[in-house]
């Protein structure tokens, strides 16, 4: 089985370790992993800020780069949702591109979704000691509808004590360009999320969307909170001795 990596621009620049973790896990499961040289950005920042033409340009590029892939797998629920749900809407008046987007949509998966739903794998033989809280990102939950896969994988990690949050449904405040357009509000929302995590007793904050994690990590670090922020692929790969 061949999988093309949709690493996302944020992971590429800020969290390459999560991307590596993902590669190691997929390869351990016997997957032939490829990474298209032309991979850049899916255009989500432009789309969500109202820059339609610019988002479409990046969307067209993306569709061409990943054309014909068996599976496209991404360490971001949010960016996966853009390709699966937004591209068909973005190109609804462009028959050629719409056909391309519709052909690609069912083959794009978020990483944990791919492991559990396509490969049927939940136990990666990982072990990692610690108390962890999982942050469910809004787009992964509400746009993609993926809620259980990361939890299924994390529950199998030996020694990991997974604790629930009081308000798992609340946005962490990242919100793409919202984070810099309304920084005070974004930070206040991040503080609420971090308070929730800290009062859960967790020392590890794990999530499946690099954007939320960058925001929460940046805020936790600024406040000096003793919290390790990890991408789920990073945690699983580390626990399985692959990173």
């Amino acid at each position: 089985m061949r999988v093309a990596l949709f690493i996302t621009c944020l992971n590429d620049i800020f969290m390459p370790r999560a991307g590596l973790g993902m590669v190691h896990i997929l390869e351990r499961l016997g997957i032939d992993v490829t990474f298209p040289d032309g991979h850049t950005c899916c255009g989500q920042p432009q789309w969500n800020s109202g820059y339609q033409a610019e988002a479409e340009a990046l969307g067209r590029h993306f569709l061409d780069v990943f054309e014909g892939a068996d599976y496209v797998v991404s360490p971001s629920g949010s960016c996966t949702a853009i390709v699966r749900h937004t591209y068909p809407e973005m190109f609804r008046d462009d028959p050629g591109r719409l056909a391309q987007a519709r052909a690609l949509a069912p083959r794009v998966y978020e990483f944990t979704e791919f492991l559990t739903e396509v490969l049927g794998t939940e136990d990666l033989g990982a072990s990692l000691k610690g108390r962890a809280a999982y942050h469910a990102s809004c787009h992964m939950t509400r746009m993609l509808g993926v809620t259980e896969p990361p939890l299924k994988l994390l529950r199998q990690v030996r020694g990991l004590d997974l604790v629930p949050l009081a308000h798992p449904e609340l946005c962490c405040g990242f919100g793409g360009t919202f984070a810099v357009k309304s920084p005070e509000l974004s930070v206040a929302m991040g503080d609420d999320k971090l308070e929730d995590v800290v009062s859960s007793g967790a020392k590890i904050l794990v999530g499946a969307d690099p954007s939320c994690l960058l925001h929460l990590q940046g805020r936790a670090q600024r406040r000096g909170l003793p919290l390790r922020v990890m991408h789920v692929a990073e945690l699983l790969a580390e626990g399985a001795g692959l990173l």
């Binding site: 990474f35 032309g38 255009g43 340009a57 919202f178 984070a179 357009k181 920084p183 930070v187």
Partner: protein, 522 residues
């Protein structure tokens, strides 16, 4: 639009006197005004605590009510669960709004047939003139009023008071904010931002007494004051939650009973109704009543549901001598036929406010208009001017999608917020400073080598920025209260957040090395 009301919250800490009041900041009409008002709200600990308690309770009650519906549907005891109900609601609203002229004519005919008088008002000035005229020709000097967002929208109280007609709000929450000289901060719970201490203080000043802060005493004081007003008033003013086109029935929903007294004790009842409030039939009304109560307060049905069909008829004991229904356009007809038409499906339940993570931080005044939360971010630019309010959809939303998930009429609120953002860009109104980087990135990143080079360069810049005290980066306070500086995106990020430790190599670089040197020992 009297709505099922929730009581004021019960947080005990008093408001810090030194903190700026959001409504003071709201007068600044500049482009950055949402951000400025948001800053004021973020600095008000009492307000934030009060709003959080209230929306968390309301949100939980709503979620529980929806879960109950799902359970009942499983047992076959209701016609479809919440999802099925809201899709029916959306279809009914789409039909009604799609043929609004026909339903309005039908409703007007039915109201007149039952002895009511129908008026059509283009906007605030017309509503003010019509109600003033009714009051002055009948010698009315005191009017009692039920909770109504439409009359807030047109500023009816001020219009009447300038003509010498005193208006007293009779919904407890509205009465409290009228005493405080403020605007409602929530569609359903207008005094959501007030603590019981503030309420005791306001009622105490109104009655010239020092009052304890327990709810029974405060409610009792308000009840005694308002009961007098009901008996003295020559006119009762209400909104309407719905108007049934086939029967001309004005439907009002309340939890306090003030709606009944307002609309039946005085000899004249005036209902001000947004033209989008129509539902075709009584059967349709049943569906919307069920959705409204569950979505706004988690109740199966509100305590009082009034169906007002015409004034008091011959031989009837109760009701006013005259019923006037004023249909308000107020900019609504200009939304018809646009990509925003679905916003006219709103039934003003407040569920999107209760589930919104931004509203939860700020309350309603930061939105600067009559409507707040996600529905305010969509509706205010449409009704109150796009240029003045484009910052709401641009800055008051993280696109988390919670509002779209709970809306009982299935309004795609996040999509409409995005549509506003596209319009903002089309009209050249994006002054966030992000336009250039977003455009440059799009132009450059369709060329992979430029992308890779810029990723490497970006990382280098970030590493420098991180190491050396970039403006705002070193030790910015958690919630700065000062004026907004026109800083770039990076400074905005660093204002409160650190940058991640920059990776020494991008994934692209790591991948390339891996391809050249084999797979790191595997």
């Amino acid at each position: 639009m009297t709505t099922p009301k929730r009581g004021p919250q019960t947080a005990t800490a008093p408001r810090t006197a030194a903190t700026p009041r959001p409504e003071a900041a709201s007068k600044a009409g500049s482009r950055a005004s949402f951000r400025r008002r948001a800053l004021a709200a973020l600095g008000d600990a009492q307000l934030r605590r009060a709003v959080r308690i209230s929306v968390d309770e309301a949100g939980a009650a709503r979620n529980q009510a929806v879960a109950q519906l799902v359970a009942l549907a499983r047992e076959g005891l209701v016609r479809g669960d919440f999802a099925a109900m809201r899709h029916r609601a959306r279809d009914i609203k789409a039909e009604t709004i799609g043929h609004l002229d026909l339903y309005l004519a039908q409703a007007a005919g039915a109201i007149r047939q039952r002895g009511g008088t129908v008026h059509f008002a283009a906007g605030a000035a017309e509503v003010g003139a019509i109600v003033r005229d009714i009051a002055l020709t009948r010698g009315v000097t005191l009017a009692v009023k039920g909770k109504s967002m439409a009359t807030e929208e047109v500023g009816l109280n001020a219009a009447l008071e300038s003509a010498g007609v005193q208006v007293v709000e009779t919904d407890l929450g509205e009465y409290i904010i009228q005493l405080a000289g403020e605007k409602p901060s929530h569609i359903v719970a207008p005094a959501i931002h007030k603590s019981r201490e503030e309420i005791a203080d306001l009622l105490g000043r109104a009655t010239g007494r020092s009052l304890p802060t327990d709810t029974p005493t405060l409610a009792g004081v308000a009840r005694r004051v308002l009961r007098e007003k009901f008996l003295q008033a020559g006119m009762g003013i209400s909104g309407a939650n719905f108007v049934v086109a086939e029967t001309g029935t004005v439907c009002l929903v309340t939890n306090e009973g003030n709606g009944r007294l307002t609309t039946s004790a005085p000899s004249v009842h005036v209902a001000v109704v947004g033209i989008e409030k129509l539902v075709p039939s009584l059967e349709d009304l049943a569906l919307f009543l069920s959705l409204l109560a569950r979505s706004s307060t988690g109740q199966k049905i509100s305590v009082y549901t009034h169906l007002i069909t015409g004034p008091r008829g011959p031989g009837e004991a109760d009701g006013p001598d005259e019923l006037h229904v004023i249909f308000l356009d107020g900019g609504r007809s200009s939304i018809l036929g646009t990509e925003f038409q679905d916003v006219l499906h709103c039934i003003r339940c407040g569920a999107c406010l209760d589930q919104c993570p931004v509203y939860r931080q700020l309350g309603g005044h930061a939105y600067g208009g009559v409507y707040s939360g996600p529905i305010g971010a969509v509706l205010t630019p449409l009704l109150g001017g796009f240029a003045e309010n484009a910052d709401l959809p641009a800055e008051a939303c993280s696109l988390c999608g919670a509002c779209g998930e709970v809306c009982p009429s299935a309004i795609p609120l996040p999509d409409l917020i995005l549509a506003h953002r596209r319009r903002m860009v089309r009209e050249g109104r994006d002054h966030s400073g992000l336009g250039l980087p977003l455009r440059l990135a799009a132009a450059a990143w369709t060329r992979p080598w430029v992308y890779r080079a810029s990723a490497r360069l970006g990382r280098a810049v970030l590493r420098i920025a991180r190491g050396t005290g970039f403006p705002g980066g070193a030790a910015a306070p958690a919630t700065p209260a000062g004026p907004v500086s026109p800083a770039g995106p990076l400074a905005a990020w660093l204002n409160g957040r650190d940058l991640p430790p920059p990776a020494s190599k991008t994934f692209h670089e790591l991948w390339r090395e891996r391809q050249q040197h084999g797979r790191d020992g595997q």
